[in-house]
């Protein structure tokens, strides 16, 4: 029934750790920034610094953090089911992949929108306040994008579900 093999489950395991990890950090930073600034710790990052930006950039947002954690739980659930109910495990993988891809697209849209927002005055010969850089962008290349890319290979394994769903 399930066409997913163990390499995919290894990938899913990695995601089931990374998503909640980044999600928790993001939630923490968001909670501190929005509600409890005296606790501190707003500067935590878990990535590679490139120029003035971190990749991935964990921007403070408690709700976004919760979202990432939920996606992590979905992948974890698929691993939990992989032995008892492989068919259903595939289902959770499928949904996890869809959500991961949606987040990836979201990040790209955000970046595009921010760039447009910075440079649109040029349309009528106006002035730009400050040039856009990856580091100055509120989102930047966030976990949504990176983890979405990491999750991408799952597509080939659960493609069969998509085909069955929409003939």
């Amino acid at each position: 029934m399930s066409r997913v093999d163990s390499s995919t489950y290894i990938l899913a395991s990695i995601l089931s750790i990374l998503y909640p990890l980044y999600g928790a950090i993001q939630f923490y930073k968001g909670a501190v920034a929005w509600w409890l600034p005296w606790i501190g710790g707003e500067e935590i990052q878990l990535g590679v610094k490139v120029g003035d930006a971190y990749i991935p950039n964990i921007f403070p947002d408690p709700f976004s953090g919760i979202i990432l954690i939920i996606i992590g739980v979905i992948f974890a659930r698929s691993i939990y089911l992989s032995k008892r109910n492989p068919g259903l495990a595939d289902g959770f993988l499928f949904v996890g992949w869809i959500l991961a891809s949606m987040m990836l697209i979201l990040n790209l849209v955000v970046l595009a929108a921010d760039i447009l927002d910075t440079y649109y005055p040029l349309i009528w010969g106006g002035e730009i306040e400050e040039p856009w850089t990856l580091g100055s962008d509120p989102w930047g290349i966030s976990p949504h994008l990176i983890l979405g890319i990491i999750a991408a290979p799952i597509y080939w394994k659960i493609k069969y579900l998509l085909k069955q769903l929409i003939p």
């Binding site: 029934m1 929005w34 509600w35 409890l36 600034p37 005296w38 709700f63 976004s64 919760i66 979202i67 939920i70 996606i71 739980v73 979905i74 659930r77 068919g87 259903l88 595939d90 289902g91 959770f92 499928f94 949904v95 959500l99 949606m102 987040m103 697209i105 979201l106 849209v109 955000v110 929108a113 921010d114 447009l116 927002d117 649109y120 005055p121 349309i123 009528w124 579900l161 069955q164 769903l165 929409i166």
Partner: protein, 676 residues
């Protein structure tokens, strides 16, 4: 002369409607058929011939029926034919993909004592649905021959004919071999009555005793009638009614009991003959995940959040472009008329052009929100979301779908009010519309976050969160009250089809998006222009001289504010609060700017200025007032459009004001009481 007499074999075709009976009839009779009428009835009678070797098979296509009660003309025709015409064989055509329902008729044919051959039709469909039916086992279980057929492909026809001939030549006309017994507590009654019937020859000549017994227990009027015309029948009827009475007392309605007994046997048989159930389809699998007991709601929130983020952030640059564009337009056109009053009114900071720009700046947001909503609905997901949220939302008196406009309201109430279209029940929808303004929208957030930062320092976030929560709690309360008063009436019964998943159409989404955007534009512009005009005039007119003034403190609005100030003294308001609040009527973002103007401070410093002048409790009270009172004019326009009535729009405004006042008062009094 030939010793082989050409004996005509009489065969009747029986079965549920839509099982392929007519196809089989056509297969067997081809051109040799004739359609007439059953004598005295308006039902078609199809009869025909099939020749094989030296035999002639006369075939009658009985009307399709689900059972053989006395309730319908078709059923009467079918059973009377079998009883009186005594066909050599009754071919029961069974739809393999609907086995249990079809076997119900089979049970009754067996009760009748007919000589049954089962044609197991549509086995290809059954196979496609993942069912494997062991027809040999079925034969064993039923005690009658079972021939698999695929009527449209003419598969099994030859075997069917062969079996018919075999039965006729091997078996004498009459009763079938095995008797299928029902459960003991039912059989008890049947057997007692059966014995009674069997002892009367006149009856058994015509009718099968077991069948008579069962029918009497069921209270079959037609059998009673038939019996009463036979010698000895009346005593049997009397005994039958007594037993039926007894059965009724012990087991309940005999008709239902016997029907259940049949199905019990059917279930047993099917469980032993049908293997490998329907495989879980991809759609079922997806539903298992999306409707999961624990993860269903979280998944919904993920999708909701995503929808929001993409719509708000994605449309932001376009909104900015429009906003800036119109602001620039305003600047360019300033001074064009040479008349300062008109200038101010049209091109000033709070002028008409700005207003139109503000209205237009919502359009990209609304369009993007709707574009994605269309995709989500088309894909089939929204029905799952409604299902998953229904239970949780009902607890607070709202329908499941209300969650969507509610959450949208946190971004902006305007598209949220339009989004209430997705709520099917009118009452639910009205409540959703009327309570939506309590959702803290982005515009109010602008004002609140500035104040909160200045007044509450470290606790700013908590204060903001408390405002959000207050809005939600009040929304639930108001919704519950509204449900019990103006919008009473049971919630419409929740019946929702979960459509098949499908690839959403971008084209359709684009059309819907355009529709919505232009509808908003057409409707909103009217009200907003009027509102802006009024406010503009009031702000720019000196209260005493009734001439143009740029000093807001001297304007009509200020005079109006001062005159109203006494009402708000229990809330500890300065008259300027009143004026800023009135400005908020136009757009909540403006409250901050208006305050700045009134205190003669810049927008950056206004918050700290206020902090130095007023105490935090009073400010908190003021914020709750701004949170709850009338929606901004664009929202009002949307409410008017979606409710279709001025009455409810005015209601929204009025209840907002009243509720805001009450809550503000409570907070200020309690606050001073508790915190001094």
């Amino acid at each position: 002369m030939a010793n082989v007499k050409r004996r005509m074999i009489k065969v009747a075709l029986a079965g549920n409607p839509n099982v392929g009976k007519s196809v089989i009839f056509n297969n067997l009779t081809g051109a040799h058929q004739h359609v007439g009428n059953w004598p005295g009835k308006t039902v078609d009678k199809k009869e025909g011939f099939h020749r094989v070797d030296d035999k002639v098979i006369y075939i009658v296509d009985l009307p399709g029926t689900y059972s053989l009660t006395a309730l319908s003309v078709e059923e009467m025709i079918a059973r009377d034919y079998i009883i009186y015409e005594r066909p050599d064989v009754v071919v029961d055509i069974v739809d393999a993909s609907n086995l249990e329902r079809n076997l119900y008729l089979t049970m009754q044919l067996l009760e009748l004592g007919a000589n049954v051959v089962v044609a197991l039709n549509k086995i290809d469909l059954a196979e496609k649905a993942g069912m494997r039916i062991d027809h040999r086992k079925l034969e064993e279980e039923l005690g009658v021959p079972v021939i698999p057929t695929i009527a449209p492909k003419k598969k099994g026809m030859k075997e069917l004919v062969e079996k018919i001939i075999e039965l006729v030549e091997g078996n004498p006309r009459g009763y079938s071999g095995k008797t299928l017994c029902y459960e003991p507590r039912v059989e008890r009654f049947i057997e007692r009555l059966q014995g009674e019937v069997a002892s009367r020859e006149e009856i058994t000549k015509l009718l099968n005793p077991r069948w008579v017994a069962i029918k009497l227990l069921e209270g079959d009027e037609d059998v009673i009638k038939k019996l009463s015309e036979i010698e000895g029948g009346r005593e049997v009827i009397k005994k039958g009614m007594k037993l039926r009475e007894e059965m009724s007392r012990e087991l309940g309605d005999p008709e239902v009991v016997i029907a259940d007994a049949r199905y019990t046997v059917i279930k047993d048989i099917v469980s032993r003959t049908v293997g490998e159930l329907k495989r879980l389809t991809a759609s079922d699998l997806l539903d298992s995940v999306l409707l999961d007991k624990y993860l269903g709601i979280p998944i919904f929130f993920v999708i909701l959040w995503w929808w929001f983020q993409i719509a708000f952030i994605g449309s932001a640059p376009f909104c900015d472009i429009l906003g800036d564009g119109f602001a620039a337009l305003g600047e360019v056109l300033t001074g064009i008329t040479g008349h300062p009053f008109i200038d101010y009114l049209f091109f000033g900071e709070y002028g008409i052009i700005q207003g139109i720009g503000a209205v237009l700046s919502f359009v990209p947001l609304i369009m993007l929100l709707y574009f994605i909503l269309s995709l989500l609905e088309d894909s089939g997901y929204m029905a799952r979301a409604a299902f998953v949220m229904e239970k949780a939302m009902r607890k607070v008196g709202l329908s499941g779908r209300t969650i969507i406009p509610m959450i949208m309201g946190f971004g902006c109430n305007v598209p949220a009010v339009y989004a209430t279209r997705i709520i099917p029940d009118e009452n639910d929808r009205m409540i959703a519309i009327l309570t939506n303004p309590l959702m803290l929208c982005g515009a109010r957030l602008v004002f609140f976050s500035a104040i909160a930062a200045a007044f509450y320092g470290a606790y700013a976030g908590d204060i903001l969160f408390s405002l959000y929560a207050l809005g939600v709690v009040l929304a639930f309360m108001v919704a519950t009250i509204l449900r019990k008063t103006f919008f009473r009436g049971r919630a419409s019964p929740f019946v929702l089809e979960l459509p098949a998943y499908q690839k959403p159409s971008f084209k359709v989404a684009a059309v819907r998006m355009w529709d919505r955007g232009s509808m908003y534009l057409r409707k909103a512009v009217g009200i907003i222009l009027i509102g802006l005009l009024i406010i503009g005039v009031l702000t720019a007119t000196d209260a005493e001289t009734l001439t143009f003034t740029t000093d807001p403190e001297r304007s009509l609005v200020a005079a109006f504010g001062r005159s109203l100030a006494p009402i708000f003294t229990p809330l500890n308001w300065d008259w300027r609060f009143v004026v800023a609040m009135i400005f908020g009527f136009v757009a909540k973002e403006i409250v901050l700017g208006a305050s700045a103007m009134l205190y003669g401070a810049g927008e950056e410093e206004i918050a700290s200025r206020l902090a130095s002048l007023y105490n935090p409790i009073v400010m908190y009270g003021y914020m709750t007032f701004i949170l709850i009172y009338i929606p901004c004019i664009v929202t009002i326009a949307a409410i008017r459009q979606e409710t279709g009535s001025w009455k409810w729009t005015i209601f929204a405004v009025v209840y907002g004001l009243i509720l805001a006042y009450i809550v503000n008062l409570l907070i200020v009094t309690l606050g001073h009481l508790l915190l001094g």
